[in-house]
């Protein structure tokens, strides 16, 4: 039995925390590594996945959680979440060009949740806008299970040249370790705090939340990219969860090397930090560079130029150990692998009782009234309502890359400067579906995110995910986790979107009230569009276009059919045959067509009985069923026949179900108890309902 001193115990405790070690989740997540793709240059083994998009360019992307800090201190929790994910992308050697913010809150009827959401969005605005990276393409969900534990996930996408990709590891013995940024007492034990359930005492953990400085981050981005250009940086890693302990041990461990560092050299932002505190502080805006000795001067010059605090704190050794000195005294000496490769825990899992959500029967005679009420209530609901209040606060234009704007597209579509290409990125998750069936809900999230990306014309190529659950020590929660990973793996296999990395956030539960969050895997899909000028948005463009429903309305997700449908949509857009396109997502076909009308200020007439379906469904079900593998598209009359012919070739059901017009009215014609009737919606009324929810709740 080893006797560890206080510093060593602190380092081990941090690295073996659930948040850093993935000790419960690793055995399950392993399944993702079986999916390979030629496009994925670096997969699960590094800080963020690297995807080849051709022409010498790579895209790096990853999603992470900042749930615990955001539930206690929402403004800084959300802000530093962004800070952390930006560094994860930056440390691979590329420029961050996009942020996505998937958010989950309890009902906005409760003042506490309104406060949380305003603060979280405020934190993102404060940090994201200042960092000069546009924010768009995220998603938001409301469910009472998020009342105490809101979920704040953050994803970042970077783009760069393939030759600038840097591994997060040390290289040669004798290389210098240069620590950039100052270390303070903020964020001490952040990862251990994130590896516990939230209780009444959690308020006392407020100091575990870091404080972000987006200005320092912006400067750090520029300095890092300039330093990489010199060719002297052999590896780099950001200091996030686990601080200096994590950065040194993981960089050494990955390269089977060791490091020796001297704490008295670490630039501090306050006096008298103990070695223990320095080793585990999670102060933001720091980076550790592994630099060839000959490059010391060149790198120093760049860091000086940007007024950054930095110091050479040590060097790379061949001992395989993390050796820490303070003023000449050895304060820690541990094998790097002990820290970077902690043991796993095999948790037990058990299937909970069948879960159901009550639904009421609908009667044919009431259908027209029910449909009218339902469409209005769906458009108003937080899960569907216009996100304008959110995205107008985010700078979604900076970078001059944003092709499709958030008022006409739910997907982030950015051109890659210097090429003809564009990327499309979307985050998605459906916690209710995952709660009812973790396998189907999680597989469905992958499918749905792919569908979003395909709807603009991009081919889905890779996936990153953030798994948000309760305590893994609860066998039913662990079953939810394992099942949803199985679902995502199956979906990623069929849809050809290998997982390139991500994050697991456990312990999202409220001990006080015994509330566990609904299982919430959030998926980010990256898509590539070879010709940026072909991107299609959801808004109807012209009157007299045909409206075509693609895909059958059926109950269960069929991944093979999903793949075929997605490929076909990408082809149709590549042939420039579509004028508008939207995936059928929340609220089904009815909401999809309403969004196409509202965002395009063009009206439409839809003939409900023409909507393709296998089973006999009534008008209400046809409009609002949330079946997978479906798209709504529009096309000019001239192109319509070719589209239908193409869908027949591909054996995918598609019907022309209506036409756009200028009547300022969205009309649904159907057969209700053998009476033909038309349900009419005044377009400005729909728009008002759709737009008002967030402004009226959040001011």
């Amino acid at each position: 039995m080893n006797n560890f001193n206080e510093v060593e115990e602190g380092m081990i405790s941090v690295m073996h925390s659930e948040h850093c070690s993935y000790k419960s989740s690793r055995p399950i997540l392993k399944a993702f590594s079986q999916i390979k793709s030629k496009r994925v240059l670096i997969g699960l083994e590094q800080d963020a996945g690297v995807v080849d998009i051709g022409d010498g360019y790579v895209v790096v992307f990853k999603i992470e959680s900042h749930n615990h800090p955001s539930s206690i201190e929402p403004f800084h929790g959300a802000a530093t979440g962004i800070g952390g994910i930006i560094r994860d992308i930056l440390c691979m050697g590329v420029r961050p060009i996009l942020l996505l913010d998937p958010l989950r809150f309890g009902s906005l009827e409760k003042p506490h949740n309104r406060w949380l959401m305003k603060e979280v969005v405020g934190g993102i605005v404060n940090y994201g806008n200042c960092s000069g990276i546009p924010t768009l393409g995220g998603d938001i969900e409301f469910d009472e299970s998020f009342d105490t534990n809101c979920l704040v996930n953050v994803a970042c996408v970077g783009v760069g040249k393939v030759e600038n990709i840097k591994p997060s590891q040390v290289k040669d013995v004798g290389d210098l370790l240069i620590l950039v940024g100052t270390t303070g007492r903020d964020g001490i034990h952040g990862v251990t705090f994130a590896s516990r359930v939230i209780t009444e005492e959690s308020e006392a953990d407020r100091p575990a939340v870091q404080i972000g400085d987006p200005f320092a981050k912006k400067v750090l981005i520029e300095a890092t990219l300039e330093a990489i250009e010199t060719g002297f940086v052999n590896g780099l890693k950001d200091l996030g969860g686990g601080g200096l302990t994590c950065a040194t041990s993981e960089m050494a461990g990955a390269a089977e090397k060791g490091v020796e560092i001297h704490l008295e050299k670490v630039p501090l932002r306050e006096e008298n930090l103990s070695p223990y505190e320095i080793m585990i502080s999670e102060s933001q805006e720091r980076m550790l560079f592994c630099v060839a000795p000959s490059g010391k001067e060149a790198i120093s010059k760049i860091l000086d130029k940007y007024n950054l605090s930095y110091a050479c704190i040590g060097h790379v050794t061949d001992t395989g150990r993390v050796l820490v000195f303070n003023n000449g005294t050895k304060v820690a000496d541990l094998p790097a692998k002990l820290l970077s490769d902690p043991p796993v825990i095999h948790r037990t899992s058990s299937k909970p009782k069948i879960r159901e959500i009550s639904t009421s029967n609908v009667y044919a005679a009431d259908l027209p009234i029910l449909i009218e009420k339902k469409l209005y209530s769906l458009l108003e609901s937080g899960n569907i309502a216009s996100r304008r209040w959110i995205y107008t606060h985010y700078d979604h234009e900076v970078g001059v890359r944003t092709i499709l704007k958030p008022n006409v597209c739910d997907v982030a579509v950015l051109r890659i400067l210097g090429t003809k290409k564009a990327i499309a990125v979307k985050s998605f998750g459906n916690s209710v579906q995952t709660y009812l069936s973790p396998y189907d809900g999680a597989a469905g999230a992958v499918a749905e995110a792919c569908r979003y990306v395909a709807s603009v014309g991009a081919k889905p190529v890779a996936m990153s995910n953030c798994c948000n659950y309760g305590s893994p020590e609860n066998p039913e929660v662990f079953w939810e986790f394992s099942e949803s990973v199985r679902g995502m793996v199956d979906a990623c296999k069929v849809l050809d979107t290998p997982c390139t990395g991500g994050n697991v956030s456990f312990y999202n539960e409220d001990e006080e009230n015994g509330i566990i969050i609904k299982p919430s895997p959030v998926v980010v899909i990256l898509g590539v569009l070879e010709d940026q000028t072909k991107a299609v948005s959801m808004n109807f463009k012209n009157p007299d276009d045909s409206i075509i429903a693609i895909g059958n309305t059926v109950t269960r997700l069929d991944l093979q059919r999903e793949k075929k449908t997605i490929d076909m949509i990408v082809e149709l857009i590549d042939k420039r045959l579509l004028t508008a396109s939207i995936p059928c997502s929340r609220g089904g076909l009815g909401v999809s067509v309403a969004k196409m009308c509202i965002s395009g200020d063009v009206s439409a007439l839809i003939r409900i009985p023409l909507i393709p379906s296998y089973d006999h469904m009534n008008e209400y079900e046809l409009l609002f069923d949330e079946s997978h593998s479906r798209f709504m598209v529009s096309a000019s009359e001239d192109n319509t026949a070719e589209i239908i012919k193409f869908t027949k070739q591909k054996e995918i059901p598609a019907r022309i179900i209506g036409k756009t017009n200028n009547s300022q009215e969205l009309a649904f014609v159907g057969n209700f108890s053998n009476t033909l009737d038309t349900i009419r919606f005044h377009l400005p009324d729909l728009k008002e309902k759709w737009e008002k929810t967030f402004p009226s709740m959040l001011g």
Binding site: P214, A216, K305, H393, D395, E397, V398, V400, L417
Partner: protein
């Protein structure tokens, strides 16, 4: 002319501005603010880009305005060098005293990013001398502190210094919906909307080039 886009710490539309200018063929360099003092003589025009210089921590633009780089820019303005300040650049120019007025928190108290329409109100600026009065330009705004305020509006009108106004909705509560102003001489222009973000049809339009193309002369 040859243009310097000055990069302060925290500028974040610097690369976008360089991209837009180069797209239309303007010889453009990104110049770090500390370097500008050594190489200023190479340039015939200056663009101060948007962003959050020094995090806008004290007040938007105030720290940049007090750098020796900006003291030099002030001197250059007196020798008729054309200077365009966009968003944070506009804030820096007012803080430096090169342009009248001030830019305060939006009346909504929140950051706003959206496309707006502005109208050309004066040809006094070198950047608008060839534009048609009352013609309309579409471009995005993205700011939290863009509400124009001045204590002598009449003087600005009398001297033809009000160059742009928001049309339709006044997005930030600016006095008289003013979106851009010029100096008495007409060589310095500041505006809150981003012409560099309206520089290509694929990103939503290219009305911004009507302003930027003066640098081509």
């Amino acid at each position: 002319m040859k243009v310097a886009v000055i990069q302060f710490l925290g500028s974040n539309c610097d690369l976008d501005s360089v991209w837009a200018l180069r797209q239309i063929g303007v010889t453009t360099d990104l110049v770090y603010y500390k370097d500008f003092e050594e190489i200023y003589y190479k340039y015939d025009g200056i663009l101060i880009p948007g962003g959050f210089s020094w995090g806008d921590y004290l007040r938007a633009g105030v720290i940049a305005a007090n750098t020796s780089c900006m003291k030099l820019v002030c001197e250059l303005s007196e020798s008729d060098v054309p200077i365009l300040g966009i968003c944070n650049g506009f804030q820096i120019l007012t803080e430096a005293g090169l342009l009248p007025g001030a830019l305060i928190r939006n009346d909504s108290l929140s950051f706003i990013c959206k496309w707006v329409t502005i109208s050309v109100e004066s040809k006094k600026s070198v950047f608008t001398k060839d534009l048609v009065i009352k013609s309309q330009l579409k471009m995005p705004i993205a700011h939290g502190e863009g509400r124009f305020a001045t204590d002598d509006l009449n003087k600005l009108y009398k001297n033809n210094q009000v160059v742009f106004k928001y049309l339709g909705e006044n997005p930030n509560g600016s006095m008289d919906a003013i979106a851009g102003v010029t100096n008495l001489n007409g060589n310095v222009l500041g505006l809150m909307p981003h012409p560099e973000r309206a520089s290509d049809n694929i990103i939503g339009g290219k009305d911004g080039l009507k302003i930027l193309k003066y640098f081509l002369t």
